[in-house]
Structures are given as structure tokens and as C-alpha cells.
């Protein structure tokens, strides 16, 4: 590794904390991040803690872009495929920014902070690319674009017990925040100087469970205090620190896309099956004409879920074959699923192979291993009524 490359690896404010906790570290899209914590029991234990109790994640590597001004909504509408006009103040919405070809710049969560005030939360690996994209494609609108990515430490608290845990750490009544909504609240306990510090608390996440993402001051001291406090308060709910390993297996079970895998600059919205987040009734947004044309042509490939029926783990990039062994597609994401205790995968194949129940093969070490097309998401949490 050259000195230039070594200098390019970035760290979140919690980096020292992860190392202190003995986390196994890995480089992810230019960031030095924890992949798992032996003290948590490792990936499988972390994954199952989130499904049954609560897990804490450092997701500060994600980016944040703020658009403010009289034409902030128009700017967002131009670059985002979903309909931001439907987003109320305090609401969040899953969407994506597209290239003119209808393929993905990135997926994004659009938060409406105020009347003319939007916050886009974006992926870690695409921070600079996205910021440049937003700035270059909104110049014609009366709005200001700011890169706030370094302004927050972002912590995700995820799992059925997330609300109980976080409620012990804030006076804000969390039951008033519905899924995909957010509020500002005060966190901290009397013994810490965090009292009086209002922060964004969103009921969002990337695990398929109930949970929150909180945006706190990015200094190391505050970040460490909040992190350790949450873990401590969450002990009775089985809280553990969770890394990128379990973050990936959790989102895979819940069939949530990962940029560079299910979505990318060569995959379009229809192929990825993200139709419901793409509002073609909006008269204009970048990528709309190409998507309309593509609608007329039909799909050459579509995203499916696979479950291995013979021994073997399908992994990212492995080839998918039909029953005769002919190559028809590839795996975008594949892994052992710790909660479902199965080997699952997402893959792109031509539509004629996409029917649930269809038998296919995945090529694992030069052998076709049997798999079956299953419906997705692989996992769906039980909703409390």
C-alpha cells in the first residue's frame, strides 16, 4: 500500500472506540470500519441480537447533503425519482438519484427538515460523487447545497427492543415517531453534559427491524459517551455493538439493496424492482425519459431471490445457471443468513427464469449447486398492532 493510499483511508469519530472494544476492522469503500466484534460474539450473534433484542451500529461513514432555499423542493424533485412533494416536514422517504440512462447514481433517504429544507442521507462510498452530482444538477434552482457529511456521528439502534432502549435515553416520546418519520429530541442523562442538546432522531434503518438512527455531534468525546451509554443502558435487552458484517446479512435477509450490488450505474430502476419508489407521474426528473422508453421495451433481466437447496453458499459475483448448466445471470449479494439459517442470494436473471419455485443452479467452485427461486423479502418482521 502506498503512502497516498494509506492516507486515503478515513475514520469515523468512533474509530478508537471500535478498536478499544477489540473489533475486527476492515476497509470498506475507503473507511476503516468494524466488521464484527468478538466481544459481541461475532457476526451471527450480532445479527440475531438485532432480530431479537437490539444492536448498535456506527453508520457515520454515510453521507449527508442538505438542500435549502425557495426552490429546494424543485431541486430535489429534479434529481430524485420518488415524489418529494408527498414528504411532510418530519417525514423521510426512500428514493434514488438516477443518471439520464435511468440507472443509479445512488439510493438515498430524503428527509424534509423544514419548509424549504431537505436532508439527503447517502452511501459512504458515494459521498463525493453524490455531492458533485447534486451540486451540478441543481444549479438552475434557487437553492443552496451543503455537504454535511462530516457534521454528524450517526448511530443506528436497531431491533424490537430499540424503542425501549432509546426511550431510556431521551425525554422525547418515541411512540410519537412513526416508521420513516423523525423528530428532534434531547438525549442524554443527568450525569452527562448532553442534556439540552437537541438532535435528529429518525425511525429509519437498514436491517428490516424497528429502530432509530440518531445524528449526534461528531466530536470523539460525545460520540464515545453516547455509544457506550447506549450499550450500557441496553444490556438488559441484550444490546451488542454490531459491525458491517451483520449490517450486510441483516439487510440481505430484508432484501434491501446495496449500491454496487443490486443497484449501480449499469442497472435501471425496473430491473432492480424499485418501481414503487419511482413516480413516473412526476412530469420531470433525471432519468425519466430513459425509464419511459425502457418500459416500452420490457426487461432483459430482473432481480430475484434464491435459496440454496443443496449444500453451498452462493456469494457475490457467482454465476447463476439454468437447469442444464447454461449461464443465465449472476449473484449480486449472497451469504449464509444467520436468522433464517439458510444460504440465500439475490441475483439478476432474465425474466423467464424468475418465477417463484423455478429451479436454478449457482456455480460454486466450478460446480452447479441447486437453488430455487423464492419470494422476497426473505425475512419480514412481525409488526405489532
Amino acid at each position: 500500500m502506498t503512502t497516498a493510499e494509506a492516507a486515503a483511508v478515513r475514520k469515523t469519530a468512533l474509530n478508537a472506540v471500535h478498536r478499544q472494544m477489540g473489533a475486527k476492522m476492515v476497509e470498506f469503500n475507503g473507511w476503516d470500519m468494524p466488521v464484527e466484534y468478538p466481544s459481541s460474539g461475532g457476526i451471527i450473534a450480532e445479527h440475531n441480537a438485532v432480530r431479537t433484542g437490539v444492536g448498535i451500529f456506527d453508520v457515520s461513514h454515510m453521507g449527508d447533503i442538505r438542500l435549502t432555499g425557495p426552490q429546494a423542493l424543485d431541486a430535489v424533485q429534479h434529481i430524485s425519482m420518488n415524489d418529494a412533494a408527498r414528504v411532510a416536514i418530519g417525514q423521510a422517504q426512500y428514493s434514488a438519484m438516477l443518471y439520464p440512462q435511468g440507472t443509479f447514481v445512488d439510493d438515498v433517504i430524503v428527509h424534509r427538515l423544514g419548509e424549504d429544507d431537505y436532508l439527503l442521507v447517502i452511501n459512504a462510498g458515494t459521498r463525493e460523487k453524490d455531492f458533485d452530482w447534486v451540486r451540478n444538477n441543481t444549479r438552475q434552482f434557487d437553492c443552496r447545497v451543503e455537504n454535511l457529511s462530516d457534521d454528524f456521528t450517526q448511530i443506528a439502534v436497531q431491533g424490537p427492543k430499540a424503542v425501549e432502549l432509546l426511550q431510556r435515553y431521551t425525554t422525547l416520546d418515541l411512540s410519537t415517531i412513526k416508521p420513516y418519520w423523525f423528530k428532534r429530541g434531547i438525549i442524554g442523562l443527568a450525569d452527562q453534559k448532553l442534556i439540552g442538546k437537541e438532535i435528529l432522531i429518525g425511525r429509519t434503518g437498514y436491517t428490516g427491524e424497528d429502530g432509530f438512527e440518531i445524528y449526534i455531534p461528531p466530536d470523539e468525546s460525545t460520540s464515545a459517551k453516547v455509544w457506550y451509554r447506549l450499550l450500557d443502558l441496553g444490556k438488559e435487552y441484550g444490546s451488542v455493538a454490531c459491525g458491517l458484517g451483520s449490517r450486510n446479512t441483516l439487510r440481505l435477509e430484508a432484501k434491501m439493496p446495496l449500491y454496487g450490488h443490486e443497484i449501480s450505474d449499469t442497472i435501471n430502476v425496473w430491473e432492480a424492482g424499485l418501481d414503487r419508489f419511482c413516480k413516473m407521474e412526476k412530469p420531470e426528473f433525471i432519468g425519466r425519459p430513459a425509464l419511459e422508453e425502457a418500459q416500452g421495451k420490457g426487461l432483459s433481466r430482473t432481480l430475484i431471490g434464491l435459496e440454496m437447496t443443496e449444500r453451498g453458499i452462493a456469494r457475490d459475483g457467482y454465476k447463476v445457471q439454468d437447469e442444464s448448466g447454461r449461464e443465465i445471470g449472476y449473484v449480486t449479494s449472497g451469504s449464509y443468513a444467520p436468522f433464517l439459517k439458510k444460504n440465500i442470494a439475490l441475483a439478476y436473471v432474465p425474466p423467464e427464469f424468475a418465477a417463484v419455485g423455478r429451479h436454478l443452479h449457482v456455480e460454486i467452485r466450478n460446480q452447479g449447486v441447486k437453488a430455487v427461486v423464492v419470494s422476497t423479502p426473505f425475512y419480514k418482521r412481525q409488526k405489532k398492532n
Binding site: K24, V35, E36, G42, I43, I44, G245, T249, R311, G312, I313, R315, S335, Y336, P338, N343, R365
Partner: protein, 129 residues
């Protein structure tokens, strides 16, 4: 972490325990710790011929696939099928979790392998941990 003194070791983190012309093979506790939770093991069939230094199977964790390299040449006599059903046994006790039993082709091949002390030294030098 102690490495049994009656085992020999490879730089690819396999161990081999010889008893006359037979030997058992597994991976070390260092290997299982590096891998994390092991979720899959692929082992050869009884009767398969192993060639020293060549891949004879694989072990997978959630995040990684790792090839298994034969510490010595020989014919597979027995395979530990308990591991295919419960690969986590390797994490629990890697030095007890034998994978295959071999009839050795040339027991002298083991002379080229590392002793427990040499392996421990090798592992402590292999950065990061």
C-alpha cells in the same frame, strides 16, 4: 494460546497429527479465530487422494471462503461428517475438530512442517493480531 506439541503445522494454518502411517488433519485455533463463525465446510470423500500443498477442501465463514491445503500426501480413510452438519464445532475447539484421517503416502513429508513452537512464532509475527 497453546498449540499441541504433538501436532505439526503449515503456514496456511492447518495442523496434522501423525500416528504411525496414519494422520488426522484440521485447522488451527488461530485460523478459526481469523475466520470468525464458520458456517460451511467442504471435505473430500473417503478414498480421495490428497497431494501435499494442494487444495483438498474449503472452510467458509459468513464473510470469507478459505481453501484447505493438504499438509501431507495420502489417501482419505475417514471424514468427520459431524463437521459438515455442525461447522461451528471448529470454532469451539479447532484442535479437536479433525477433518480427515489419512493414510500417509510419505510420513517424511511431515519433517518439512512447523513445530508447535515455530508455528506459534510464525503466528505472532503474522501482523495485526
Amino acid at each position: 494460546m497453546p498449540y499441541p506439541s504433538d501436532f505439526k503445522y503449515t503456514k496456511e494454518h492447518e495442523w496434522i497429527k501423525a500416528e504411525g502411517k496414519y494422520a488426522t488433519i484440521g485447522i488451527t485455533s488461530y485460523a478459526q479465530d481469523s475466520l470468525g463463525d464458520i458456517v460451511f465446510v467442504e471435505l473430500p470423500k473417503v478414498g480421495a487422494e490428497l497431494a501435499v500443498g494442494k487444495v483438498f477442501g474449503s472452510v467458509e465463514s459468513v464473510k470469507a471462503v478459505s481453501d484447505l491445503y493438504a499438509p501431507a500426501s495420502g489417501t482419505v480413510q475417514e471424514v468427520n461428517s459431524a463437521l459438515t452438519a455442525a461447522p461451528e464445532k471448529i470454532n469451539q475447539d479447532a484442535h479437536a475438530a479433525w477433518m480427515v484421517k489419512l493414510e500417509l503416502k510419505d510420513p517424511a513429508e511431515l519433517n518439512a512442517l512447523l513445530s508447535a513452537a515455530d508455528y506459534e512464532k510464525f503466528v505472532s509475527e503474522e501482523g495485526g493480531h
